[in-house]
């Protein structure tokens, strides 16, 4: 009996004192943290206090003035960000949950789902739904209204951009998916399969910017007579030709193809992983039966395996297509759109943030959206058809 009373007292102590007080402290801490994050100088000032504690007044002074070594303030900022970001979010959910649980059963059932789903919906609403509507609105109303659209559709420079995007689409997707398929089939029969796949897959972890630097090095051109330290031109020269400025030559859109190669190099791994898994799902029985009927390996692969994995093939193709249409980093870093390599995503960036033409930039964004939309719908339809829906 006595034990039970003690348990009961501990519980009430927790719920009526510890928890609310703890929550209050957490909320206050969070508020301070948020303020800390929003004020630019706050991190530096706090670091300055630490420096002064250790007697380094000179550095403290520098920090307060806004210069000095920013590493310590940065670490502070990062630490606070982590705590506020993670702790804050959890506190919010826990807090809202506690509040809702205190209400009657009736309210609890209908309000709680909104607590769970609310933050996501709010974030999506403000950061995605409203901007989409707003961008369409901007494209039609900024400046001369429909003139933006007219520019997008009739300007010859834009036509070149669209042609480039189509080239990217066709060559990029065919390359990435084609190679992905071939490599998946090839590697399927090898013992160290996982290791081999890692090599092909690795570029996906590299940023597009990093990949651009890597390939820019490969494509480097020096005037004939100087040492060609770019791999491709070294080979070109070795074969007896003059070195070619791959990235600058727009004849036959050579440079665009050179840029597309970078994306293929990166995206093949993605296609390979998905197609490899799909290939492994093909039942061996039919393949063996076909083999008994005298089919060669090549026939087996192209006439039996490939059709069986059609669903995955389509899905990979469409997904890669969407990625390719949105390409920005490669063009931005390699040429900035010059030498006739411009693509819609890059042009949109230039219009918006270098030329500050909101109207034209918005139109280009919508054009990009319209280009991607049919692909996405096709993808959904394909997923439904193959029975892989969520």
């Amino acid at each position: 009996m006595a034990d039970e009373t003690r348990e009961y007292d501990k519980d009430t102590f927790r719920t009526t004192f510890l928890v609310p007080v703890g929550a209050l402290i957490a909320v206050v801490g969070l508020a301070i943290g948020l303020y800390f994050l929003l004020d630019r100088q706050a991190a530096a000032n706090t670091a300055a206090i630490f420096y002064e504690l250790f007697g380094n007044d000179a550095e403290a002074e520098l920090l307060r003035r806004g210069s000095g070594n920013t590493v310590v303030p940065k670490m502070l900022l990062a630490g606070v960000a982590m705590i506020v970001g993670v702790g804050g979010v959890w506190l919010f959910y826990w807090g809202m949950n506690t509040v809702v649980m205190r209400l009657g059963d009736r309210w609890r059932g209908s309000l709680l789902p909104w607590v769970f789903v609310g933050p996501a919906l709010i974030l999506l609403g403000i950061w995605l739904v409203w901007p989409v509507i707003q961008t369409v609105f901007l494209s039609l109303t900024t400046g001369d209204g429909l003139a933006n659209w007219e520019w997008a559709l009739t300007n010859p420079a834009n036509h070149q951009t669209y042609i480039n995007n189509v080239l990217w689409l066709v060559v990029g997707v065919a390359g990435a998916v084609g190679f992905g398929l071939l490599i998946a089939g090839l590697v399927d029969r090898v013992k160290r399969e996982a290791l081999a796949k890692t090599f092909i897959f690795l570029p996906l972890a590299i940023s597009l910017v990093g990949a651009s630097v890597i390939w820019r090095f490969v494509y480097t051109w020096r005037p004939p007579g100087q040492p060609q330290y770019g791999l491709l031109n070294a080979i070109t020269e070795g074969l007896g030709f003059d070195p070619i400025p791959w990235v600058q030559t727009s004849d036959f859109r050579l440079n665009t193809f050179a840029l597309i190669a970078i994306l293929i190099w990166l995206q093949t791994g993605f296609a390979m992983v998905i197609l490899s898994a799909a290939i492994k799902g093909v039942p061996t029985e039919i393949l063996e039966a076909a083999g008994l009927d005298g089919a060669s390996e090549r026939q087996k692969f192209f006439k039996m395996v490939v059709p069986t994995i059609r669903g995955s093939l389509i899905m990979v193709t469409i997904t890669t297509a969407i990625v390719v249409l949105k390409v920005f980093d490669i063009v931005y870093v390699m040429t900035g759109g010059r030498f006739n390599t411009d693509v819609v995503a890059n042009n949109m960036y230039i219009q918006a943030f270098q030329l500050f033409d909101v109207g034209r930039a918005s139109v280009l964004a919508v054009v990009l959206f319209l280009a991607v939309l049919p692909m996405a719908l096709l993808n959904i339809r394909n997923i439904r058809k193959e029975g892989m829906a969520a």
Binding site: V86, L124, P131, L202, L204, P227, W265, F369, V372, E386
Partner: protein
């Protein structure tokens, strides 16, 4: 979830191959892997060479005499980390990436749980909207959000980038997590609610621990995506060099030091180090993430 057929999956068939017989096949695969790694190898080797060496001889020539230690140097890395902004950029990338990965996971898992196991009006419609948002290109959101930030005075802060990345990553996160959570056996929930557990308790004590593979898969996606992102950083963080992330810094180096390959190669390699490491260690989850919901049967 990959399907493995019962007795023997379509896989290693002894002494057969698609196009070639065994030895040429192995040779072809090795050659392929080598070829694929060649560009990366190029900058890796070059990053350890002296600036004049890089521009006077091909990096492949340096490989012919690998033990000639006079030709290797660490000075490029010293320079890139020190006088260039890279060390600072590395910290900035961490500051940007980690909250941008952790926050969406939290928000999305709550939402995915609600979509999967709670009842509320418009549940179906709202979920369709979330899925629809998967296809919206970033570009549609860039300008209005930036105007919104400028109006609130949040331009060029880390918070603006965290929120943007969180919101942009939510559709995929909710999609992946919903797929996973909705496939958990419903008896779990029935027994738990009979025991008097609230949704919150079920979520934290049952669903979350079980969802770790899916959470890990998305975490890696999002980490790599945000770390390697250029556009969002460019637009919302581009103003102050002190806040520059690695991708931004690298793109600036290309613009400003186009031919100084000793800097560029070392810089590029540093930006790649962490994501490649993360990728290599957690490959399994990454692949699982890509495959979940993509291949069935």
């Amino acid at each position: 979830m990959t399907a493995q057929t019962g007795s023997s999956g379509a896989g290693v068939t002894p002494n057969r191959s698609v196009f070639l017989t065994r030895a040429p096949l192995r040779f072809a695969v090795i050659a392929l892997c080598l070829l694929w790694s060649l560009p990366t190898l190029g900058i890796f080797v070059s990053s350890f060479r002296d600036a004049r060496d890089i521009t006077s001889t091909g990096w492949w020539e340096a490989l012919l005499t690998p033990f000639d230690t006079a030709q290797w140097t660490l000075i490029n890395y010293e320079q890139v980390l020190g006088s260039e902004n890279m060390a600072n950029a590395f910290i900035n990338s961490l500051i940007v990436t980690i909250p941008s990965t952790v926050i969406p996971i939290t928000v999305a898992s709550f939402a995915a749980y609600a979509f999967a196991w709670m009842r509320f009006p418009f549940r179906g419609t709202l979920f369709m909207v979330v899925i629809a948002l998967l296809v919206v290109p970033l570009q549609m959101a860039l300008i209005p959000v930036q105007q919104f930030y400028t109006a609130l005075g949040l331009g060029n802060t880390f918070i603006s980038v965290w929120l943007a990345h969180t919101a942009f990553g939510l559709p995929l996160a909710i999609f992946l997590l919903y797929n996973f959570i909705s496939q958990l056996p419903s008896d779990l929930f029935e027994t738990a609610s009979i025991d008097g557990a609230t949704h919150f308790q079920m979520f934290t004590k049952v669903v979350l621990p079980l969802s770790i593979p899916a959470l890990a898969a998305f975490a890696i996606f999002q980490f790599l995506w945000v770390w390697n992102d250029l556009l969002v950083a460019l637009v919302y963080l581009g103003g102050l060099p002190d806040q520059s992330v690695m991708t931004l810094e690298l793109s600036r180096l290309v613009g400003g030091r186009g031919q100084q390959w000793h800097i560029l190669t070392a810089g590029a390699f540093i930006t790649m180090l962490l994501p490649v490491l993360v990728f290599m260690l957690l490959q399994r989850y990454f692949v699982r993430g890509i495959l979940s919901g993509s291949v069935k049967g």
